[in-house]
C-alpha cells in the first residue's frame, strides 16, 4: 500500500498529473473575485472565507473524475483488484494520495490567496484550519462519485452533480467555522467539530461504498 501511495504521488507530479491543475484553477477563481466585486476592501474581507471555500471545493472536484477512470482505461484497475488488500483500503489510499497531491497544496496556498481577499490573519488561519480538516471529506465523497461513473466516458460533470448534495454540509460547516473565528457572537468550535465528524464519517463510508462499486463495475 505504501508503494501505491508513492506511485499516486509520483503520477500526480508528472505531466498530465492533477497536482498543479487544481492549484491553478483555485488561483484563477480567487484572482477573478476581486475584479468581479470591485475595490470594496471590506466586502472582500467579508466574503473572503466563503470564496476561498468555494474555490477550494471546485478545485478539489476538478481532478476527481480521473481517480479511477485512468486506472480503468489502461487496465491497471483489473490488476489493482487482484491485490491482497480489501478494495476499500485501496480506495482509501488512492483518495488519501489524491488529497495530499491536490488538496494539501490548496491549504498551503490559502495564506497567499487570503491576502488577495484582504482577510485578517485570524480569518486566514481559520480558513486554513477548516480547509485542512474539510477538504479530505470532499475527496472521500468524490471517490464514491468517481467509482459510480468509472465506466462512463464523460463522467466528470456527472460526478459533480452526484456528489454536490453531499458536499454542501461540508461547505456550510467549513464556512461557518471560518466566520466563527472572526465574528464575535458566532462560535468556532461547534461547526469545526461537525466538520471533523463529517470528514471522519466519509473517510469510512466513502472507501467502503466506492470499493463496492468498483468490485461490481465489471458486471
Amino acid at each position: 500500500m505504501r508503494a501505491l501511495f508513492l506511485r499516486e504521488i509520483r503520477l500526480a507530479g508528472r505531466i498530465g498529473g492533477g497536482a498543479l491543475t487544481g492549484l491553478l484553477f483555485f488561483l484563477a477563481v480567487i484572482t477573478l473575485v476581486p475584479f468581479a466585486v470591485g475595490p470594496d476592501l471590506k466586502l472582500l474581507a467579508r466574503i473572503g472565507p466563503a470564496m476561498l471555500w468555494t474555490g477550494a471545493l471546485l478545485s478539489t472536484l476538478l481532478g476527481l473524475d480521473r481517480l479511477f477512470q485512468g486506472e480503468r482505461e489502461d487496465g491497471s484497475l483489473d490488476l489493482l483488484l487482484l491485490g491482497e488488500y480489501p478494495v476499500a483500503l485501496l480506495v482509501f489510499v488512492k483518495a488519501l494520495a489524491h488529497w495530499v497531491a491536490t488538496g494539501l497544496p490548496l491549504v498551503l496556498a490559502t495564506p497567499v490567496f487570503g491576502l488577495m481577499m484582504n482577510m485578517e490573519p485570524a480569518a486566514i488561519g481559520a480558513v486554513m484550519a477548516t480547509l485542512l480538516v474539510g477538504t479530505p471529506a470532499i475527496t472521500f465523497i468524490g471517490a464514491m462519485g468517481a467509482a459510480v461513473t468509472v465506466t462512463l466516458a464523460r463522467g466528470g460533470l456527472l460526478i459533480a452533480i452526484l456528489i454536490l448534495p453531499l458536499v454542501i454540509p461540508v461547505l456550510v460547516f467549513g464556512v461557518s467555522a471560518a466566520y466563527g473565528a472572526v465574528e464575535d457572537p458566532a462560535p468556532f468550535w461547534p461547526p469545526f467539530m461537525f466538520l471533523c465528524a463529517i470528514t471522519l464519517f466519509f473517510s469510512v463510508l466513502g472507501p467502503l461504498a466506492a470499493g463496492f462499486m468498483l468490485r461490481h463495475a465489471a458486471d
Partner: protein, 205 residues
C-alpha cells in the same frame, strides 16, 4: 497445486455465456482455451480472476496458499497492458512487484522479454509491441502462481512469440499454472486445449 473448476456458469446481463463448464489444471500444466469469438473465453478468465461473479459452480485452488483467495494468487494479462505511460518502465514494474508480490528482479524480467536496459525509459515512449513485452515481463517480475492470459501474443512479432513460449515453459517447469485464451498457436508443447463453443440458446428464459 491444482486449479479445479466445477460446473461453472456465468451470466452477463440477461445472457448466459458459460454453462456447466468443468476442468482441472495441475501444477506444470498449461490450458489453451480456444473457440470462436463470443464463445466466452475472456468471460471465463474474468470469472476466474474474480471480476465476474459466477452464477453457478465453484473455482478452487487445491494446494495453494489457503489464506488467500483464488484471485489473490492469479496474474491477469488481458488486452490492455496496465502501464502508466508517465512513469518509467522500472517504476511501473517495481510498483507491481510491491503490490502483487515479489518475483524476479526487474532487469532479469526485461532481459527475458528481449528488452534489456530500457528500465529508465518512460513507458509512453515504447512501441505497441514493446509495451506488450513489458506487460509480459510483469508476469515474471511480480510473482503469482496462476497466470490468466488473454490473447497474450497480440501485437508481438515471431521472435517475441517464441520468447513468450519460453517464459511460459519456464513458469510451468517451476510448478506454475497457465490458462491462455488465444486464437494463435502459442508454440507450447504438451499444452491441453479446451475448446469453448458459443451457447446459441444462451438467453435466460
Amino acid at each position: 497445486m491444482k486449479l479445479v473448476v466445477e460446473n461453472l456458469g456465468v451470466e452477463r446481463g440477461e445472457r448466459r455465456i458459460i454453462e456447466g463448464l468443468a476442468f482441472e489444471v495441475s501444477s506444470g500444466e498449461a490450458l489453451v482455451i480456444t473457440g470462436p469469438n463470443g464463445s466466452g473465453k475472456s468471460t471465463m478468465l474474468k470469472a476466474l480472476a474474480g471480476y465476474l461473479r459466477p452464477s453457478a459452480g465453484t473455482i478452487t485452488l487445491l494446494g495453494g496458499n489457503g489464506e488467500k483467495s483464488v484471485p489473490e494468487q492469479c496474474h491477469y494479462l488481458a488486452h490492455s497492458n496496465a502501464l502508466k505511460l508517465q512513469l518509467s518502465v522500472r517504476e511501473n514494474l517495481e510498483f507491481w512487484q510491491h503490490y502483487l508480490g515479489m518475483g524476479e528482479p526487474v532487469e532479469a524480467a526485461l532481459e527475458a522479454v528481449g528488452l534489456p536496459g530500457i528500465g529508465d525509459i518512460p513507458a509512453g515512449y515504447l512501441s505497441a509491441g514493446q509495451k506488450r513485452r513489458v506487460a509480459i515481463a510483469r508476469l515474471i517480475a511480480a510473482f503469482r502462481p496462476v497466470w490468466l492470459v488473454d490473447e497474450p501474443t497480440a501485437a508481438l512479432d515471431a521472435s517475441s512469440e517464441c520468447r513468450f513460449a519460453a517464459i511460459v515453459e519456464r513458469h510451468l517447469s517451476n510448478g506454475g499454472i497457465v490458462l491462455a485464451a488465444t486464437h494463435q498457436p502459442l508454440g507450447l508443447e504438451a499444452a491441453r486445449v479446451l475448446e469453448m463453443r458459443a451457447l446459441t440458446a444462451g438467453l435466460i428464459k
